[in-house]
């Protein structure tokens, strides 16, 4: 079976050039650590900036005369508005409790009556979170009956959004550069690894091996190499994150272990990077072998 040969040769190839293989695993691991740390850095950065934002985007205060029917009607209108991620109703009693918690004084002991209005706190979905969209929402809400005032901290909102946008742009460029440099770093190592097997490639080709039979074991070997590099990268990052928490330096809000998609992505990227890198290098080498 040709498949037997391909699988065996792919695995045996590792044993035959252990040092070169370990070198390549090392470079793939470093490459993947760089990429995954880059992604995590951005993710944590965004989480951190997100924490600077209020828990909600705006608050709609109602007039004291608003009865339960009106409140129910408003709640339906708000929640059905496109782009609303969350809406919480705060009764006059809730507001008093919040005031008490925040200022340490019972508002009812200061005044005879509870002056605090009931309100709706609204948070928008990420994709709808723009000043223009929120302003349009405010305009339509202000036209509704029993809406007294809408509080929207536009300056803070704009500043946070601007910072987040900049982070996205810088992060995208940085991750692109990291990926580019990892491809370069890895391909150089793979080239060295395959160069050390030039005699083998030439001999099997002279013995009648088709290009496919020459390339397939290397492709498999590259896949294994990438997988091992990926596993090492995940272990290193997890260990680093654990150490940060263990030594009370920082407890990261976003860790690789909480992101199975990032772990799978790291493994797949490692496998693709090294197996395709191997394939490309062998193909290039085959051009010089008759």
């Amino acid at each position: 079976m040709k498949l037997n040969y391909i699988i065996r040769e792919g695995i045996v190839g590792i044993r035959r050039s252990t040092m070169a293989f370990m070198n390549s695993v090392f470079s793939v691991t470093i490459a993947l650590v760089l990429v995954a740390v880059g992604v995590l850095f951005v993710d944590n950065g965004l989480e951190f900036i997100g924490q600077l934002q209020a828990d909600y985007d705006l608050e709609i205060f109602l007039e004291n005369e608003a009865d339960a029917g009106i409140k129910q009607e408003l709640a339906t209108i708000i929640s059905e508005y496109p782009g609303i991620f969350r809406m919480d109703y705060l009764s006059k009693e809730d507001a008093a409790a919040l005031y008490n918690a925040e200022f340490g004084e019972d508002v009812l002991s200061l005044l005879d009556d509870n002056p605090l209005p009931s309100s709706f706190r609204v948070t928008f979905e990420e994709t709808y979170r723009s000043t223009n969209y929120i302003q349009a929402f405010i305009n339509s809400m202000e036209a509704l009956p029993m809406v007294d005032e809408i509080m929207f901290k536009r300056d803070l909102f704009d500043r946070v959004q601007g910072i987040m946008k900049s982070i996205y742009v810088v992060a995208a460029a940085a991750i692109f550069l990291i990926i580019l440099s990892t491809v370069f770093l890895t391909s150089n190592n793979l080239r060295l690894m395959i160069l050390s097997r030039y005699d083998f490639i030439e001999t099997v080709r002279l013995l009648g091996a088709s290009d496919f039979m020459v390339k397939a074991p290397f492709f498999l070997e590259g896949g294994l190499l990438g997988f091992i590099g990926g596993v090492f990268a995940i272990l290193i990052i997890s260990g680093f994150e654990f150490a940060l928490k263990y030594f009370h330096i920082i407890d990261l809000p976003s860790r690789i272990m909480n992101h199975p998609e990032l772990m799978i992505g790291t493994l797949l990227f490692g496998i693709a990077l090294s197996s395709l890198g191997m394939l490309k290098t062998v193909r290039r080498m085959l051009r010089f072998v008759a």
């Binding site: 040709k2 035959r16 005699d199 083998f200 099997v204 002279l206 013995l207 009648g208 290009d211 008759a290």
Partner: protein, 220 residues
């Protein structure tokens, strides 16, 4: 089987072959005889499609080497056994793995590979060396190993390039006997040598070369 038509081959260092015309029929035994640099190895490499003519045509199994695609070349080589002047054995694989390689590339099941390898190792008297590495073999054993690898898949043509060079008389004889046995099984043999004592050991056609041209085509 093999047809050379007005073949010219030019190396950067100068012309190697000029206006070569000959054909090889099934089950022929041909000596390419001539001094070093006369073009013997170049002819073998043209047949093997490791080199391609600058002019003229080389047809092997009805495949024209100039028009051959890479998969055609692989197919041609699967039907040709080659014993190179420089052994081209894989030094990091033992004798068994070296002999088995052509069969494994063709996808033979491992049980059949084992049977064939032990059979040919018996035939070429290297059975006891199957677990050794090429650098642990004597010159004669190394040549027989190359022969075993070249003939394991019963090729239609066997090309041997100076297989007895630098061997003592006993090793030379055993290598010659092995080549003759392979020929007796129906394989065509093209044997490049500069040693005229070998020409008398086997009835064959002799193509005598000098400076890249055939100066004599005779039967001995």
């Amino acid at each position: 089987m093999i047809q050379f038509d007005r073949v010219h081959l030019r190396y950067d260092s100068g012309i190697s072959l000029r206006d070569l015309n000959f054909r090889v029929d099934p089950n022929e035994f041909i000596y390419l005889f001539g001094p070093s640099g006369s073009g013997k190895s170049s002819i073998l490499r043209l047949i093997y499609m490791e080199l391609f003519p600058n002019a003229g045509e080389v047809n092997v199994f009805n495949i024209n080497s100039i028009r051959a695609r890479r998969q055609d070349i692989a197919k041609v080589r699967q039907n040709i056994g080659m014993v190179f002047q420089v052994s081209r054995l894989l030094p990091d694989r033992d004798v068994y793995a070296n002999i088995a390689l052509p069969l494994e590339l063709l996808g033979f099941p491992s049980k059949e590979v084992r049977q064939k390898v032990t059979h040919i190792a018996d035939e070429l008297n290297i059975r006891s060396r199957l677990n050794h590495y090429p650098h642990e073999l004597s010159g004669g054993e190394e040549r027989r190993l190359s022969l075993a690898r070249a003939s394991i898949n019963l090729p239609d043509i066997l090309l041997v390039d100076e297989p007895t060079a630098h061997l003592d008389e006993i090793s030379k004889k055993s290598v010659m006997e092995a080549i003759c046995r392979i020929h007796d099984r129906g394989t065509s043999v093209i044997f490049a040598t500069h040693d005229d004592s070998l020409l008398r050991q086997h009835n064959a056609r002799v193509l005598t070369l000098d400076s890249g041209t055939i100066i004599e085509d005779r039967i001995v």
